[in-house]
Symmetry: C2
Subunit: 210 residues, 2 copies
DNA sequence: CAAAAACTTGACCAAAGTGTCAACTTTTAT
DNA sequence: ATAAAAGTTGACACTTTGGTCAAGTTTTTG
């Protein structure tokens, strides 16, 4: 009890301010990327004097790296509960739904990561790359299993997953184009539902009437 | 003959240097976006003194706007020959193939445009947005026609096209993730071929064995 | 409650970036 | 050939940015 209260209170100010800074930063990075974001802008958006932000983070780099970690962690948390042991149609529907939910709710983080990819993923550590690779490989194995069972057609699991990521993340990263296409000022939950139906039905059934 | 030679020679130096500058700029913008790119870096990459670049373009803005125009123009040229009057399977295959070819060959331009979208598409003029909208609408009509003919299932044409753009552009914008997934150091034409087969077969037939 | 640790901040500096200009060279037109 | 137009460039002035620091205040700890 005592120990716990010490531990939490001891870190209260720091953690509160770090959160303020990181939230401000991820929004800025999501719009302008690493190189386009000024340290001073992060300080302003955090509503803290620049020198105070320097007290918590040595430089922009450190903020950025923390955000990369956070986003990857959030990504893990969001998708580890997806059960790929179900039947293909169930599992794939759930996966697409979860990815679209993530795109809708965690738009900022998605765009932040999109910037990192556009710049070549230089900030990803070897460990982080490897982790991504392992998670993906696990998914591929499930798909291969379904293929061997004759439950789905014989396609490239890698390209299949890329197609799912692309189709879902597009709604977070390129919201503008989606809004322009749908002729909507702002995307609603309903729009994401239609997206889900379209993607799921296309992926599962194909678009040609048989 | 005379007139023509006057016209071309009169503009030779200018156009040569503008091309140098624009080529250097689009590469930098494609990596770091508008805000992340310094005017001086464009000059260095162009192998021209900064003051010389200022002689051709008043500022970074002007360079960027020219590039937006160029990319939209190139986009038009690349896809206006796509014949959507064919049978659905033929037309859709060709469309996906063309989009993937564009992603492979015009990677830089794709990424440049991706940055513009991530920053909210602020640089697109009303006219340009409208043009994009019109081209898209035309495609949608074709799809609606096919639906009314019972040739393809009743799905949202908008979301269907978004799915096609997303699945193909992903290979240009997020090459890193693709390379990581495929465990390749560099994507080859062959990789794009497999991508095409996977996307086309999935879109046309769906992934479930019937 | 006193000392230590944690936190805050204005002021400052050096480096980098933006944009201008006048003097110069090269190209073009007559 | 020569004047006008087009192109080139070093140097300069001004602004923005990144980063430090010392002197303060607040919070925690024993």
């Amino acid at each position: 009890m005592k120990k716990n209260s010490i531990k939490t209170s001891e870190k209260k100010i720091r953690s509160k301010n770090e959160v303020k800074i990181l939230n401000a930063a991820v929004l800025l990075f999501s719009k302008k990327g690493y190189d386009g974001t000024r340290f001073m802008d992060i300080a302003k958006a955090s509503e803290l004097p620049k020198a105070n932000v320097y007290y918590y983070f040595a430089n922009k780099n450190e903020i950025y790296e923390r955000l990369i970690e956070n986003v990857l962690q959030g990504w893990d948390n969001a998708f580890e509960h997806i059960n790929l042991d179900l039947e293909p149609s169930q599992a794939i529907s759930a996966y697409i739904g979860a990815k679209l939910d993530y795109a809708r709710v965690h738009t900022i983080e998605s765009r932040f990561f999109a910037h990192e990819m556009l710049r070549g993923g230089e900030f990803l550590t070897r460990k982080q790359r490897q982790h991504i690779r392992e998670v993906t490989r696990k998914h591929e194995h499930v798909l291969e299993h379904w293929i061997s069972q004759g439950k789905i057609r014989d396609i490239s699991p890698q390209h299949f997953f890329i197609m799912l990521w692309a189709s879902t993340e597009f709604y977070a990263n390129f919201t503008n184009i989606v809004e322009l296409t749908l002729e909507k000022r702002k995307l609603t939950k309903k729009d994401f539902d239609v997206a889900r139906e379209t993607i799921v039905s296309n992926i599962l059934n194909g678009c040609l009437v048989k």
